[in-house]
């Protein structure tokens, strides 16, 4: 038998262990596997690589990609190129956090549990909600879980209304969950760059469990949450708001406008873009929905000696799950990245989060103005945060190819989402310098006018 670097057993060990077990061979242990279902010969996967060969192979694949550290990056659309404080990675690489399982044994998991409790506290504070769970797969999935929660909570409901200002992939994820639970996810049209309140009003009815809007929305614009909530007065319909948590450093908390559930993704805080995942969704609610919340939640308690400690609580999962009455099948959060974003939020602190949000606002508005000065039309009629949409004269795929050749990663093709040709969604985070933005504008004038 060959040696493999992660396997400690020697042939001698294996022989001794088989003797203790009383089996003649490993095949005897697999005796219940029917002959007809045995893998014949070797699996057809590539041969084993030594650590050095593996580094070269994977490094070679990584080297084929254009990265945000190689070229000035103007792509956002829900996932952002922010600077990650150096300490974040150093902490999450500690094996005690990195390799642990779900904190089933609280006596030896206090570190993880406390970190999640602190994260819940930060999310609740940013959103203004009473409480938050300890994380979901991502922001898109969090919207879908919120929709399921609403359908389960609002009696005799059979529908959610989804603004077209919500991230298109979040809209699609809600549609999938609606397909699963057999309810309807109906779209609410746009009025320019924001949700059409007249259309929303026309579509409201007794069977609507929730209205879902994004704040700031997919096009960067600040939605009029107060006006949406006003339409829901005297109804049982819940207001679900999806928010970039960085924007909440400067924008008013959704709780102030009557949000029942606030969701989003903490990727902007210390989590690499990683081609779309892993990131970490959050879900925060008012206390009346506390016992309906999916996934895990951590609570403070005391041990036998009265010492403060933390446990998973209000637990509805796995062994404890009310199997046939489940409203969610969640079994993991994204604990490591909840931790990462906690560290980042702690590094920013009370002042830093405002400064970071403001730096994004400054750069994005500088870029928008510079484009307007060159005759481009900015399509946002409402105020916007760190993204905006601009009308181009050419096909966006072609524009982005030309920009790539000139040394930039361009924006997102929002034509379909906006419902108009050649609509370009741009983002300028705190990482963009004035020179990069000026050069980008000049390049865009050349390739897209």
């Amino acid at each position: 038998m060959s040696n493999f670097r992660y396997l400690p057993n020697t042939d001698q060990d294996r022989k001794a262990m088989l003797e203790t077990i009383g089996a003649a061979s490993i095949d005897e242990i697999y005796k219940d596997v029917p002959e007809s279902a045995r893998v014949q010969g070797d699996l057809e996967i590539p041969e084993a690589l030594s650590e050095y060969e593996l580094t070269k192979y994977m490094g070679g694949l990584a080297a084929k990609n254009t990265t945000a550290s190689q070229k000035p990056f103007f792509l956002g659309a829900g996932i952002y190129d922010h600077h990650i404080p150096s300490i974040v990675n150093h902490v999450i690489m500690r094996q005690e956090f990195l390799t642990a399982y779900v904190p089933y044994q609280p006596e030896v998991s206090q570190g993880e549990l406390q970190a999640l409790f602190e994260w819940q506290s930060m999310v609740a504070e940013l959103t203004g909600m009473d409480l938050a769970n300890s994380g979901l797969y991502d922001g898109y999935n969090a919207v879908a879980e919120a929709a399921n929660l609403a359908i389960g909570h609002v009696k005799k409901s059979s529908k959610v209304l989804v603004s077209k200002g919500l991230h298109p992939q979040a809209q699609e994820t809600v549609a999938t969950y609606a397909f699963g639970r057999d309810y309807e996810a109906e779209s609410v049209e746009l009025d320019g760059d924001v949700t059409d309140l007249e259309d929303l009003k026309a579509k409201l009815s007794d069977d609507v469990a929730a209205v879902i809007v994004q704040y700031p929305n997919f096009f960067g614009s600040v939605e009029d949450l107060a006006a949406v909530k006003e339409l829901l007065e005297d109804t049982k319909t819940l207001l679900i708001v999806s928010s970039n948590p960085l924007a909440l450093g400067k924008l008013e908390k959704p709780s102030e406008f009557g949000a029942d559930i606030v969701v989003g993704d903490v990727q902007p805080f210390g989590i690499p873009m990683s081609f779309g995942g892993p990131h970490c969704g959050y879900l925060a609610v008012t206390s009346k929905l506390m016992r309906k919340i999916p996934s895990r939640i951590v609570g403070q308690t005391v041990d036998e000696d009265g010492k403060r400690g933390f446990v998973m609580t209000l637990s509805t999962r796995e062994q404890h799950i009310r199997r046939e009455k489940a409203t969610s099948n969640y079994s993991s959060n994204q604990a490591l990245y909840a931790l990462a974003s906690s560290i980042a939020m702690t590094a920013y602190g009370k002042q830093g989060i405002k400064d970071l949000a403001q730096a994004n606002i400054n750069n994005t508005h500088y870029l928008a103005k510079a484009l307007q000065d060159q005759g481009f039309e900015v399509l946002n009629k409402k105020p916007f945060f760190n993204e905006f949409v601009v009308k181009l004269g050419k096909d966006i795929r072609e524009v982005n190819k030309a920009l790539h050749e000139k040394g930039f990663v361009g924006g997102f093709d929002a034509s379909e989402a906006f419902g108009e040709d050649n609509v370009y969604l741009l983002c300028a985070t705190e990482k963009r310098t004035k020179a990069e933005m000026d050069e980008f504008v000049a390049a865009l004038v050349e390739v897209a006018k």
Partner: protein, 494 residues
């Protein structure tokens, strides 16, 4: 393990004006959005903690010292496959070319990322002996949901969705299985196990009919057994017009030996954070890739990667039911999974399974005379023990034994699961434990069995050496304190 006494919340060490971050210099004019948005300007600052860099590191280092990882000691948590997480996986996932790329970039500029996805899809397909793969689900339970939604899409297309509403679920199934079926809009029907701990074939035969949508089988089972009648059960379901799902949480026991495709299943999921070395991250991120046969391939979520000549492209399956999350799944976890599979190759992957099974049988053989070990058969990657006798005779239960193991620097096994075994401990050592560590674990189990006889109180009140003692879980649920702010208001934080 060093277990310090530090117990401050980050908010409690916060001091006005401290910060652990500074901004790049602003080169552009300040823009006053606040004035523009009126009532949408934030009035009260978010009270994030104010802490300097070294203080932050001391805080989290202290927290980490109150946490148990795989490198802290043996972690025989059944069904969770707590194997060693190779360090190189982390180095690779953190490479600029993987960490700093955006999913909406032009695919031509991220061909290396698409190649990673393609290679992983292909390897997973081959290990499962199935026809198609998607990497989109973020976790095992999420993969279950994606697969059962593919069942639903299939029945809709053949016009049997109204009729086929029932998913059969063995009583030894993972708790997420029935929850998944319900979230996908199906009813569930529980199938009992035989006294030998495997699914009762006759019970399946008795309930199948025109309303059967399918069955979800964990193979090997949560009782640590190979479901030897799986093929027959699959045939029964197929004859009735239903579909068969294999929960692959325990794939670690069978890779290279047998495969869901060879057993006739239509769909299966991997827990790549378990089987392909994760890591678990304290409860995520995971990755719940699923593989299906030709019958279901066109309904999968996506987009997934196809190869056209030398070029890799995204493609949405023709009749996809949609997406289950953003983008392409937990790419960073999938990078680690590919790195792991390439480190082992075909012979290594099979050796992983064989050693995982060997190690579990070895511990069981060493401890079985000291505890009740139900099911007189070889086990797969985990095995179960029952404390029913000790509970009756010594008033010591499964939870107590788990807690006592913590005192010896061993993480507790899974307790009270599967539900079909009373006072159950489920033990899974994995293949990366050496024989000497397995002997250490077995010796401690035996020692605790003796303590139960000689000093049951010691076990009953365990743990004694951990940073906190048993916690008041009932109190936590009765009067929930879920944030620092709530605790502060209740006078239970500073």
């Amino acid at each position: 393990m060093i277990l310090q006494d530090y117990d401050k919340l980050i908010f409690e060490i916060s001091q006005d004006g401290h910060t652990g971050y500074d901004m790049p210099k602003s080169e552009v004019e300040e823009y006053d959005l606040t004035a523009e948005v009126g009532q949408y300007a934030r009035k009260e600052d978010a009270r994030l903690p104010e802490v300097s860099e070294l203080q932050i590191l001391r805080h989290y280092t202290a927290l980490s010292n109150r946490n148990f990882g795989i490198e802290s000691g043996p972690y025989p948590l059944g069904s969770c496959t707590m194997k060693y997480n190779p360090k190189i996986n982390e180095d690779v996932a953190a490479l600029d070319g993987f960490a700093n790329i955006h999913p909406s970039q032009d695919p031509d500029t991220v061909q290396g990322a698409l190649e990673v996805m393609y290679e992983l899809q292909e390897s997973l397909r081959e290990i499962a002996k199935m026809d198609a793969c998607t990497l989109q689900p973020a976790a095992g339970a999420h993969g279950e949901l994606a697969a059962i939604l593919a069942f639903k899409a299939y029945f809709e297309e053949i016009g049997e969705a109204e009729q086929r509403k029932v998913i059969l679920i063995p009583d030894s199934a993972h708790g997420t299985n029935p929850a998944t079926a319900v979230v996908a809009g199906f009813d569930t029907l529980e199938i009992p196990s035989t006294p030998e701990g495997i699914i009762d074939v006759e019970a399946v035969r008795a309930v199948v009919g025109p309303d059967t949508a399918g069955i979800m089988i964990t193979q090997p089972s949560t009782a640590g057994l190979f479901e030897r009648d799986a093929k027959e059960i699959v045939d029964i379901i197929h004859e009735a017009g239903g579909l068969c799902y294999m929960d692959g949480a325990n794939m670690n026991a069978i890779m290279g030996v047998t495969a869901p495709g060879l057993l006739g299943f239509d769909a299966m999921h991997y827990n790549l954070h378990k089987t392909m070395s994760g890591p678990h991250g304290g409860g995520g991120p995971g990755s719940g890739a699923i593989c299906v046969n030709d019958k279901l391939a066109k309904y999968l979520p996506g987009p997934n990667v196809v190869k056209n000549g030398d070029k890799f492209e995204f493609e949405m399956p023709s009749d996809s039911f949609g997406r289950v999350k953003g983008h392409f799944g937990n790419f960073g976890v999938n990078v680690r999974a590919l790195t792991y599979i390439r480190a082992y190759g075909p012979k290594g992957i099979k050796q992983v399974a064989e050693d995982a099974v060997l190690n579990a049988n070895y511990i069981r053989a060493r401890v079985k005379d000291h505890f009740d070990a139900p099911f007189d058969n070889y086990n797969m990657n985990d095995f179960v023990l029952s404390l029913t006798r000790q509970k009756k005779e010594n008033n010591v239960n499964a939870k107590d034994v788990g807690k006592r193991l913590l005192d010896y620097g061993i993480h507790a096994p899974t307790t009270y699961f599967p539900l079909i075994v009373e006072e159950c401990l489920m033990v899974e050592p994995t293949e990366t434990e050496s024989k000497s560590d397995l002997d250490f674990v077995a010796d401690i189990f035996i020692k605790i069995a003796e303590e139960i006889e000689t000093d049951p109180e010691l076990v009953r009140t365990a743990p004694h050496n951990t940073p906190v003692k048993r916690l008041d879980e009932a109190g936590a649920a009765r009067k929930p304190l879920l944030t620092y702010w709530a605790a502060l208001e209740a006078g239970k934080a500073e």
